[in-house]
């Protein structure tokens, strides 16, 4: 049990040291970032270095789990701000992922969907002017 835990801790240490690779050495230790003056209330602005590394490790693991190769994981982590790391920590599943295709074969379908959306809306707006029902249903 104890051994397993020690092994877990070691693995975690190794994976953290991997996400440290290529981690931009922004400034000497102790420098307070500009984000702090911009928004003292935000948690991202007063993150410690170790908190940032833990968030990087978590986001890196999620990216890998969603199919990003290890070499690219590091490069992709290197563009993320602290606030963005916090937003993605444990949350990639629930983020919006834009990707739907409007291929030529399905282009007509795309158009139809767009027009349907607009037609539905204008009909509903007219209806709502008369009855005021729309507000009940819209969000």
């Amino acid at each position: 049990m104890g051994l397993q835990r020690a092994r877990g801790a070691l693995l975690r240490l190794v994976s953290i040291s991997i996400v440290c690779m290529g981690f931009a050495q922004v400034a000497p230790a102790g420098v307070i970032g500009t984000a702090y003056m911009l928004d003292e209330e935000s948690r991202a602005a007063s993150l410690s270095r170790i908190e940032v590394l833990l968030a990087r490790e978590d986001v890196g693991r999620q990216l890998e789990a969603f199919g990003v190769g290890r070499a690219m994981v590091l490069e992709r982590l290197n563009g993320l701000s602290n606030a963005e790391l916090l937003e993605l920590e444990g949350q990639i599943e629930s983020q919006v992922a834009g990707g739907d295709i409007l291929a030529r074969t399905r282009g007509r379908d795309g158009y139809i969907q767009e027009y349907l959306a607009a037609a539905r809306c204008s009909a509903r707006e007219k209806f709502s002017k008369r009855a005021g029902w729309c507000r009940l249903f819209s969000f």
Binding site: I32, T34, L80, I101, A118
Partner: protein, 320 residues
């Protein structure tokens, strides 16, 4: 059998959901209005990268980067922003990849007017649309390259359509369901056509956090031209100098800030570290001492104590 019945029930449910949740909250005038004299604009020179399946994110980002003179192959961009397990790209990752290409991603105001002004300034706008309905979303990135108010049309590079012309009203509904999200790509030092100070400053601070100090310095200088003497912008510029190890310029800028406002303890913290970097340990200890005695915030207290310890350590190893 049970499964089939379930599907049937579901298929009956779908139209019901459609009606209930497709949501036709109308578009507020603040979003849809354009200036009376708004000329039709179309950036015809915007390149086109037809997307492969699910890969509208990389295609759209490659398009706006190309218009900002960043030459990057679509295949490389796929590696940087496409997330196979989600069959799409995240907004945050589009912004992160913009930074690593040496550009500043800026989220525009969610109004047609803001898009039109960016187009007038020669910048196409990457937007998020939802082409499905609330219950069955179909998230899609496209690039707005033109608006013609008179014909009430918007022109997009979208999917495999090089020039997709959509009625503005239709576009606005798909954009509303995309949270009115759109971004432009700025060269460091370039200001967006419609600028929100705190959003722009946060975008620059993000550049600093990912270690792009030179890009951040250029952006802070542009900010200071628009907001002369702004404390946050000066602090950001000084921090960029410190990262670039231009200690003299950093010290001057921190002191300039303290002359304006002696109560900025975070500035004193960074000034102390800058002095220590130059071997001026006594002066550094004095500054951090002043900050500690004036401070009453427990979070900042921890930071200041850390800095004090760092300076002491450096002093001990420096004098040995």
């Amino acid at each position: 059998m049970f499964g089939a019945r379930k599907v049937l029930q579901k298929s009956r449910l779908v139209p019901a959901l459609f009606v209930l949740t497709s949501g036709c909250a109308s578009i507020p005038p603040s979003v849809s209005e354009l200036p009376d004299a708004a000329q039709a604009v179309e950036l015809e020179g915007t390149p086109f990268f037809p997307q492969e399946r699910y890969q509208c994110g990389p295609a759209a980002l490659t398009t706006v980067l190309a218009m900002s003179d960043v030459d990057v192959a679509l295949d490389n961009m796929v590696d940087k922003v496409y997330l196979p397990g989600r069959q799409g790209s995240l907004q945050i990752e589009l912004m992160a990849a913009t930074r690593t290409e040496g550009r500043l991603p800026y989220q525009v105001d969610g109004t047609l007017d803001a898009i039109w002004k960016e187009l007038e300034a020669g910048r196409p706008v990457l937007v998020l649309q939802n082409l499905g309905v609330a219950a069955i979303p179909r998230w899609h990135y496209a690039v707005v390259v033109g608006i013609d108010a008179e014909r009430s049309e918007i022109v997009l590079r979208s999917g495999t359509d090089k020039r997709r012309v959509t009625p503005i009203r239709t576009y606005l509904h798909t954009w509303r369901r995309g949270g009115y999200w759109g971004m432009v790509v700025l060269a460091p030092g370039e200001l967006p056509a419609t600028v929100d100070r705190s959003r722009y400053f946060a975008a620059i601070a993000a550049l600093e956090e990912v270690g792009r100090a030179e890009d951040a310095a250029a952006a802070w200088r542009a900010a200071l031209r628009k907001w002369p003497g702004d404390s946050v912008a000066l602090f950001g510029l000084a921090n960029a100098y410190l990262s670039l190890q231009d200690f003299g310029a950093a010290e001057t800028t921190y002191r300039d800030l303290l002359d304006r406002d002696r109560s900025l303890l975070v500035v004193r913290n960074n000034l102390a570290l800058t002095l220590a970097e130059q071997g001026e340990y006594d002066a550094a200890m004095e500054e951090i001492g002043v900050a500690l005695s004036a401070n009453s915030d427990p979070v900042l207290e921890k930071q200041l104590r850390n800095t004090e310890a760092t300076i002491r350590r450096r002093m001990a190893s420096g004098e040995r």
